[in-house]
């Protein structure tokens, strides 16, 4: 397995380099270093000299990808791309164009994101699986039909509606929780109850339908029929056999998104004033802060690669027939 992981690590390297080049090219097609300087320096009294100063101070006075005036290897190294990208592979994110240390900002902001995303994922998973099992238990009946209709209805509503509706009913009308805000430590629970509830509720429709499909696939298999023939009750069959076997796709589906939980959720964090990473990239794009954009895209790519690797590993853990080679 270690060999497999090392090989995947080397596969990831060109992939990340490609992502980095793509981000760089896309960003600089839209924004020039002069545009970035103007954005950072504000609207008033911006002169050509102050733009030149800004570019020089932030290292944007070099050519983008190729420096024809330099000699030897400096043709590559004395470019914006090289100077701004090499540190990323060592997880040195550097300083944002507005002067803040990006690594420190990410470290500070990823925990609130995780504090929101992790409970939403766990509680959501438990709720979805429970309801999906109940629907399978009552399959073919009116309850299942009603459940499916309800799920489709829940899926069809925008998540923004759940957020605004939830804030209106629970926080404004019933006054049971703060409408938005955050604090450190366990105090955060008070602020997370509502966003987690809304996060879970908004995902119930699609989640329950997805898990129901998985369970229905298992329920028709031979081993389930054998279990029933042995005299096991329907609940025993579902919880002892069907659930265990359906765990493989559930687990792999969850593991792949685990690393991305750090990246946060833009809308939820924005509406609930949770100081996470959700809006970090969008704010950076709006303010043309290339340093943050490249750091976050790189981090997102790394986490996605890690997620896929973890998924592969988790296959071997839940299904002994799978071998990594």
């Amino acid at each position: 397995m270690i060999q497999y992981i090392i090989r995947r690590f080397f596969y990831a390297f060109p992939l990340l380099l490609g992502v980095n080049i793509l981000t760089f090219v896309l960003f600089f097609i839209v924004n020039s270093p002069d545009d970035m300087a103007r954005m950072q320096l504000g609207q008033k009294h911006v002169t050509e000299q102050s733009i030149a100063n800004w570019k020089q101070q932030h290292g944007y006075d070099r050519p983008l990808l190729w420096n024809p005036k330099a000699s030897g290897e400096e043709k590559v190294t004395q470019t914006i791309f090289y100077q701004k990208s090499v540190g990323l592979f060592l997880f040195r994110f550097g300083v944002s164009d507005s002067g803040r240390n990006i690594g420190a900002d990410i470290q500070e902001r990823m925990w609130p994101s995780l504090a929101l995303a992790l409970p939403t994922l766990i509680v959501g998973l438990l709720v979805d699986v429970t309801f999906a099992l109940m629907m399978v238990l009552f399959r073919g009946g009116t309850l299942e039909q009603a459940g499916i209709v309800l799920c489709v209805a829940l899926m069809s509503i925008s998540s923004l509606f759940y957020i605004i509706g939830g804030q209106f009913i629970v926080a404004k009308v019933l006054k049971l929780v703060p409408i938005s805000g955050y604090d450190d430590g366990l105090i955060a629970i008070k602020f997370l109850i509502l966003p987690v509830l809304i996060g879970v509720f908004s995902g119930v429709g699609s989640g329950v339908r997805w898990y129901r499909t998985l369970f229905l696939e298992e329920v028709e298999k031979d081993y389930v029929r054998t279990a029933r023939a042995k005299g096991l009750s329907e609940t025993q069959t579902l919880f002892r056999h069907v659930l265990r076997n359906a765990l493989i796709p559930i687990l792999t589906g969850v593991v792949v998104i685990l690393p991305l939980l750090f990246m946060g959720s833009l809308i939820m964090e924005s509406f609930f004033s949770i100081p996470g990473l959700g809006s970090y990239t969008i704010d950076a794009i709006n303010s043309q802060d290339f340093a943050i954009v490249r750091a976050m895209v790189f981090l997102g790519s790394v986490l996605y690669v890690v997620g896929l690797l973890l998924t592969d590993i988790s296959y071997t853990l839940v299904d002994p027939r799978v071998r990594l080679s």
């Binding site: 938005s180 366990l186 008070k190 609930f272």
Partner: protein, 711 residues
């Protein structure tokens, strides 16, 4: 955080949720006790808190409470008036000739080669407690030579245990001016100051390769420390508006120790920089700096004696604004600013009493404001029931529709182009714009100057006679027929371009390309359609739009300006020829050029406010109204809401350091919050009961079906 901390936090949480059931929706955890706490919000995280670089309103909300320039705007008096802040008196202004001889008597502008501003500051003013000023028993600075290990253990500025303070001196003001000139600091006013402060440009070049820590040993020829409490700034020629710059945070004092402390390697990796952790002499200090969540200002224990003003405008006494006259400032102990990006939670928290003040977003406008028959804005009944107060204020800003005067169709000084511009000025109905898109929050502009600035008048003499008539003691927009007549005179009968024999096509360049902007763009199209003109909206991204403006490739555009200081010079300069954007990269976005205007402007800008200046301003207004390089749009009107417990509030567009004057009645707030925030448990209990019933029924149904299957 250890297990004990977690347990204690859990207990606090349970106690807070269990005992104080009247406010379980409170977003605040800390107990206020007897202290006076103000709760505010901010929607955009500040980029800079260094007074040398900070230049936006959302940053001034913080730093204007922390840093103190030598002068400030009087809180109550109108028109706006400067008074000493840390200075002991207003500056002594001396005019000099080119040989540095002092000019006396009736001095002519052309004789003045330099102007000296001699500023005396008060003695005994102390900086806030700060680690940069902490000294050990030997009198050496405690944290100026930090080792790598020491820096490694530090996470925030509060991790430095010791703090120190020292007296404010004239050198601190001079040091800050040197910082403004340092290219590495990138002050937005550096390029302007090069034109005024003697030696500023040379100093900037001289120190370009030096560290900030070395600035102290270098001198700038036009800025000099005369004594411990006195310094002098020498500027080129005469520039009376310079004193307004001295009331802005750019000219606040900065101790040299701050640069030495913050420049230590390793601190910036932890975001511990002067740009994020200010050090000032003002009424407040920044106790917590988390721009992603909240910023907390605490009363500065070292704050010098400053008293609430004893004089104001007529009516201030009746409005209770002089009740605290002569009392020591500030009144509020702590200010908590919370980041609130969305308007719905922000508005709800205000209504629940968790914010003390609020603006009005467009989606909550109808809940808060209603218009009377005469067009005046008042609060709705639900607001009145909560005893909320409304305050309105016309900002010292102008939003206008500009014509590119270099354009062959709409630009230039030909009679035809001028009449076309005048016709468009009549057709674009900004009264309607304000009503539709701004909920009535704006005043139609009759010229360049907003209300409250010298030269503005709301009488008949103040209207734009080319667009308005004075009927029933108010300005009324001319009828569209007059605009059509002007179109005919311009050679575009019914809007037909004689060259193409089709409707005249004009281009509107904008960066407003979102879905939300579509109604506005459609509205502009309809305004031009009144004249038979086809308006083509050329939407582009912000960068390309700026590029078009720089190169003069636009035709019609919308632009705005927020005055830096309350002087007409800071508005008319937007139309001054040598400030043309294309030729000189200046702020004259429409590239307007008029010899008559430029001559009058040059005469007006250096004058003191008097009758002669007023008359020249009216002449300037007449020139631009006649030439119509802009469709004078509107001056935004700001609507703010305040709870009844928040007092000593007077709108002031120029003063950013208003917090120190305001007061909170915490008892009233506590009572009202309790009253407004009783949780409603019944619906929750009913929902739970329904859920349990459904569950029991389901179990029952399952058991019955299982039994039936067996049978």
């Amino acid at each position: 955080m250890n297990i004990r901390t977690y347990i204690s936090q859990l207990i606090v949480l349970v106690v807070l949720m269990g005992c104080d059931v009247s406010q379980i929706n409170s977003p605040y955890i800390e107990e206020e006790g007897t202290s006076s706490v103000l709760y505010q919000s901010f929607s955009e995280r500040p980029k800079h808190l260094d007074p040398a670089t900070s230049y936006s309103e959302n940053e001034y909300a913080f730093i204007a409470q922390i840093y103190e320039p030598p002068f400030q705007y009087h809180y109550l008096k109108r028109p706006y008036q400067l008074t000493p802040l840390t200075a002991s008196k207003m500056p002594e202004i001396n005019y000099l000739d080119s040989q540095d001889n002092k000019l006396v008597g009736d001095v002519q502008d052309h004789d003045i080669a330099y102007t000296d501003y001699v500023i005396d500051i008060q003695s005994g003013i102390q900086f806030q407690p700060h680690p940069a000023l902490a000294k050990n028993a030997q009198g050496e600075y405690r944290y100026h030579h930090l080792s790598e290990t020491q820096i490694q253990d530090v996470k925030t500025l509060n991790d430095f245990v010791d703090t120190g303070s020292r007296e404010l001196t004239a050198e601190d003001y001079v040091h800050q001016i040197k910082r403004l000139a340092h290219p590495k600091i990138q002050s937005p006013i550096a390029e302007i100051m090069k034109n005024y402060i003697v030696g500023f440009d040379d100093f900037s070049k001289q120190v370009s390769s030096l560290q900030k820590t070395e600035l102290r040993n270098k001198s700038i020829s036009g800025v000099e420390v005369i004594g411990r409490y006195q310094y002098r700034i020498r500027i080129k020629g005469k520039y009376p508006q310079f004193i307004f710059w001295l009331a802005m945070p750019f000219f606040s004092p900065m101790p040299w120790e701050a640069d030495v402390f913050y420049e230590q390697a390793g601190l910036s990796n932890k975001n511990i920089t002067l740009d994020w952790y200010p050090i000032g002499t003002g009424p407040y200090l920044l106790a917590e700096n988390n721009p992603n969540r909240r910023m907390i200002l605490l009363k500065n224990p070292q704050f010098h004696t400053e008293l609430y003003p004893s004089e104001g405008e007529p009516g201030d006494k009746q409005n209770g604004l002089l009740a605290d006259a002569g009392k020591k400032l500030p009144f509020i102990d702590k200010v908590i600013f919370t980041l609130e990006k969305e308007t719905i939670p922000y508005w709800t928290k205000f209504l629940q009493g968790y914010y003390d003040a609020s603006g009005i977003a467009s989606d909550s406008f109808d809940q808060a404001i209603q218009f009377t028959g005469s067009g005046g804005a008042t609060l709705t009944d639900s607001m009145k029931e909560k005893e909320i107060k409304l305050q309105t204020l016309v900002e010292a800003s102008i939003f206008y529709m500009g014509f590119n005067m270099l354009d062959p169709i709409v630009g230039g000084d030909s009679e035809s182009a001028r009449k076309l511009r005048q016709a468009i000025s009549i057709a674009v109905d900004y009264e309607e714009f304000i009503s539709i898109f701004r909920n009535g929050r704006g005043v139609v502009a009759q010229g360049v100057i907003p209300p409250g600035i010298f030269g503005y008048t709301d009488t008949k003499a103040g209207i734009n006679p080319y667009n308005y008539d004075w009927i029933d003691n108010k300005a009324q927009r001319k009828k569209i027929e007059e605009a059509r007549h002007l179109m005919e005179e311009a050679g575009y009968l019914n809007g037909i371009d004689p060259k193409t024999k089709e409707a005249l096509i004009l281009y509107f360049d904008t960066a407003a390309v979102s879905v939300d902007d579509r109604p506005t763009m459609n509205w502009y199209r309809k305004q031009f359609e009144k004249l038979g003109i086809k308006l083509v909206v050329r939407g582009t991204d912000y960068n390309r739009f700026q590029e078009k403006m720089r190169n003069g490739n636009e035709q019609i555009f919308v632009w705005g300006w927020n005055a830096d200081y309350p002087d007409p010079e800071n508005l008319f300069f937007l139309l001054y020829g040598p400030n043309s954007k294309v030729k000189y990269g200046g702020e004259n976005a429409g590239n307007y050029q008029s010899a008559a205007f430029d001559k009058l402007f040059e005469k007006m800008r250096n004058m003191d406010n008097n009758e002669q200046r007023y008359q020249i301003i009216q002449e300037l207004q007449e020139v631009v109204r006649h030439d119509a390089p802009w469709v004078f749009g509107f001056h935004p009107k700001n609507f703010s809401l305040f709870h009844s417990w928040y007092s000593n509030l007077k709108p002031n567009v120029m003063a950013n350091n208003r917090l120190k004057y305001t007061r909170i009645d915490t008892l009233e707030r506590t009572e009202k919050r309790k009253h407004w925030n009783h949780p409603q448990w019944l619906p929750v209990i009913l929902t739970l009961l329904v859920f349990v019933c459904l569950l029991v029924s389901a179990i029952h149904a399952y058991r019955r079906s299982a039994k039936e299957t067996l049978q």
